[in-house]
Amino acid sequence: MNSIEVVDVWKRYVASEGFRKKRVVEALRGITFYVRKGSVHALLGPNGAGKTTTVRILATLLLPDSGTVRVLGFDVVKQADEIRKRIGVVLDVAKGFYSSLSGYENLVFYGLLKGLSFSDARRRAREVLELVGLEDMGASKRPYHSYSLGMRARLAMAKALLTDPELLLLDEPTLGLDVESARMVRNLMIRLAKDGRTILVTGHNMFEIEQVANYITIINRGQVVADGAPQELKDKVGLIHKITLRIAGNSLDKFVSALRYRLGIEKLELEQAGDTSTVVAYAKARRGDIVQVLFDLVREYNLRVLDLSIMEPTLEDVFIAIVHGAARGA
């Protein structure tokens, strides 16, 4: 079952460029993707790709020009109020709260706006402040204007969790945060996902996305250019793996030739030191295939493996390859 369904969505803006000069910007150009219930789905893309526009449409803050968007089964155009009740949103971690009110007071206010009773709003405010660690920092009673960026991000997360929503939309929740605060947000996302909540997160930190997301949609210039699980994306892109193999035994030349042939390797370095040899090869193949070929060849030529590492491409490599590939194709 899908928590989010985005089908052929278009969104255009009219950008003003000085007096009487206007330009139509196509923020989304027929974007389609689905977010499965209970998944942590990352929406990636370079600046201006349409990530924030998508999140704002999902949060019912923007209307799509055309296409269908359903969140938790409700239509974003016709049933916006139903969606707002059921989701938690983080759109800008640096602002969005009343500066003279404390974090606790801000949360009680937003809890009331979300439809909680006064006593429930106070109780939930205390609970979520505890959850994000602001209570421990003694910050819940301090005015918002005295908060650091990290504390503001924690408060934004707390606000998103006020009504214990089944779906969280997080637009760059760790942008500009220090290491500790970013880790807290990341761990919180992992914890919430384990509790069965659906999370849609955008961001630029690939290390972070790789840690939390189990499905990724990459968009560029308002279009989906790739989607799948992180490993699927890596496989789809088929980037070159770096194989470092330290072996001992005879028939090394035959082994190297067979390796070149079986994996279609163009670049291979061989270094010999005494009885052992180190082979460094760059193979454009799936990790599973590489392991299988190596296993077969080592047995066939009766070699002893002393050390083996296969460096797979990082998500960052995949992202750059996909986005650049899409840009070249455009």
């Binding site: 923007l62 602002k95 969005g96 009343y98």
Partner: protein, 244 residues
């Protein structure tokens, strides 16, 4: 409060208090004593504070929440713009009307005992209705400023509007004596009718004249409500099309 008292009674420093009361009675066409005069001065001072807080809060807060503080987007994550604007125009002015005139509940009985308490009891509904009407009126200005017109210093509008409204509404002098341009501006609000209503109620007592002004205030309330409903729906659609 001090200003109101001063405007009414300051001339007594260069003449006698009796002369001031007589002069006031001549201008207003009434016959009141010093206690009633002080009650009147304090009561009209509440109109000043009420107008100031309601118009200023409604016009400037909406703009600031969208453009400066940036909380409007966060608010709209939880509720819709229609509800939010309704609160700005109805609930907030209601609260402000009660809080900004609350001092009269203490002051009037202190000055005139039971008579002061009775006076407060029948001017309070007038303040509440006027507060809501002013809130709705201010929203007619606040929505275009906040969502459609790009202005660098929009608070100038409220800063100019409030004194014009107060000066043109005949707060201390009969409306016919106020400058015509200010009178025209003030006549777009309920203020002049509220002032006349209070003047009749405080200086002449409740009578059939009151009905005329109550009818005008009700008609204006209905008009503002219609315009605000249309503006609110339009702004809601506009903000969801272009973003908050």
């Amino acid at each position: 409060m001090v200003f109101s008292l001063g405007v009414v009674l300051l001339p007594s420093t260069i003449s006698s208090i009796d002369a001031v009361i007589n002069r006031f009675n001549d201008i207003m066409g009434v016959s009141v004593d010093i206690t009633s005069l002080i009650l009147y001065a304090f009561t009209v001072s509440a109109i000043m504070s009420l107008t100031l807080v309601v118009v200023d809060e409604t016009v400037n807060t909406l703009y600031q929440e969208r453009h400066l503080v940036g909380v409007l987007q966060t608010v709209l994550e939880s509720t819709n713009l229609r509800t939010y604007l309704l609160c700005q125009a109805l609930v907030k002015p209601l609260i402000l009307a009660l809080t900004s005139t609350m001092y009269l509940a203490i002051l009037l009985p202190l000055i005139a005992g039971t008579e002061g308490l009775i006076t407060y009891a029948y001017v309070l509904p007038t303040f509440v209705v006027s507060g809501i009407a002013l809130g709705l009126y201010a929203l007619v200005i606040a929505i275009p400023i906040t969502f459609y017109i790009q202005m660098k210093r929009p608070w100038i509008i409220a800063n100019l509007l409030v004194p014009s409204l107060l000066a043109g509404s005949g707060l201390y002098i009969p409306m016919r004596l106020a400058p015509e341009i200010l009178r025209l501006i003030a006549q777009t609000t309920v203020l002049p009718y509220e002032c006349e209503l209070l003047r009749i109620m405080l200086l002449q007592g409740l009578g059939p004249n009151v009905i005329r002004f109550l009818a005008i205030i009700t008609a204006l309330l209905a008009f503002y409500t219609s315009v605000d409903t249309w503006l609110t729906l339009t702004a809601d659609k506009h903000s969801r099309n272009v973003g908050v």
